[in-house]
Symmetry: C3
Subunit: 129 residues, 3 copies
């Protein structure tokens, strides 16, 4: 079992939706998930941030499923946005897909992603014993 | 053997040069590779993006070799550029060095790197059984 | 023991404070550390970069301690700043907390972090046998 914890001598995780530390025991298999974007299965990209974020999270979960894993196995998520104004729209989408699970997390707003139309990219790591 | 896969219910990896998921079995050794830049072995930094990218990829491969690994063992690459206009120039250089291997990948354009003259930084993780 | 190394055919690590490669043996436990910020234990955020950086590094060390680890077990650190001008101020703070240990490292200056008041975020990975 991956062990999630938050030291009591530092501030709680911001917004209380992730864990400060996630410890993975030896003898785990590890899944590396490439940056998932808003590209739809047909290769097109929706315009709206919400639609892109929804697809990025769905794709993230699909990659997990391909390794026989679920969001409960995710140990780290890194989110890249291209506009800070999109963060508020992302939060409920992220919460719904994470379904109460709390990986370690980092989020940064960057200048642009590989395709200028992309507004979000979500990468991560999962581990299962 | 690290297992690379792409779920069929999501869009294929962009440009078809990486994998959506890479699964590493238990009992692997893991290599963490610091962000590699265009600094030449003599410590100077070439001006052109192409020369920097070439050196960054060569240095990345050198770190792999130091652990007895090759690009076939790479499970994740993160690329940071400082200008989106350099991406087109990076693609053939990356392809040549990756030699058909497809780690998981993320790319972001950021404001600047530790040295303002640096135009690219390439970090990654490799694993071998 | 995690094995740190620097290939002799590439430039030494910039500023000589990190390692190009860190190899983790099989049968290690792995700690994923979420992006640590300048938020103080009481939830407030100091204004100055120095105070934020000091707290981010203290929090990073606290998460390590929560898993029975220390900075000697850190294999990778990623630092995100929001202003390149802060990098000079960060260096002595980082050096003091790392205490001579040399994980692999990447640093990028990004547009902004999840909270616009945050000037630094420090995430990382540690491993122990």
């Amino acid at each position: 079992m991956n062990k999630k914890f938050d030291p009591i001598d530092i501030a709680p995780p911001f917004n209380n939706i992730y864990s400060h530390g996630v410890e993975v025991p030896p003898n785990s298999r590890t899944l590396w998930i490439a940056g998932q974007t808003g590209d739809l299965p047909d290769g097109t990209t929706p315009d709206s941030f919400e639609d892109q974020a929804e697809q990025a999270m769905k794709s993230f979960v699909s990659v997990l499923a391909g390794a026989g894993m679920t969001v409960s196995d995710v140990v780290k998520i890194n989110v890249y946005l291209t506009s800070h104004a999109d963060l508020e729209k992302f939060r409920p989408i992220r919460s719904r897909h994470l379904d109460g699970h709390r990986p370690a997390m980092t989020l940064a707003v960057v200048s642009t992603l590989a395709e200028p139309k992309w507004k979000i990219e979500v990468e991560g790591v999962a581990a299962k014993q």
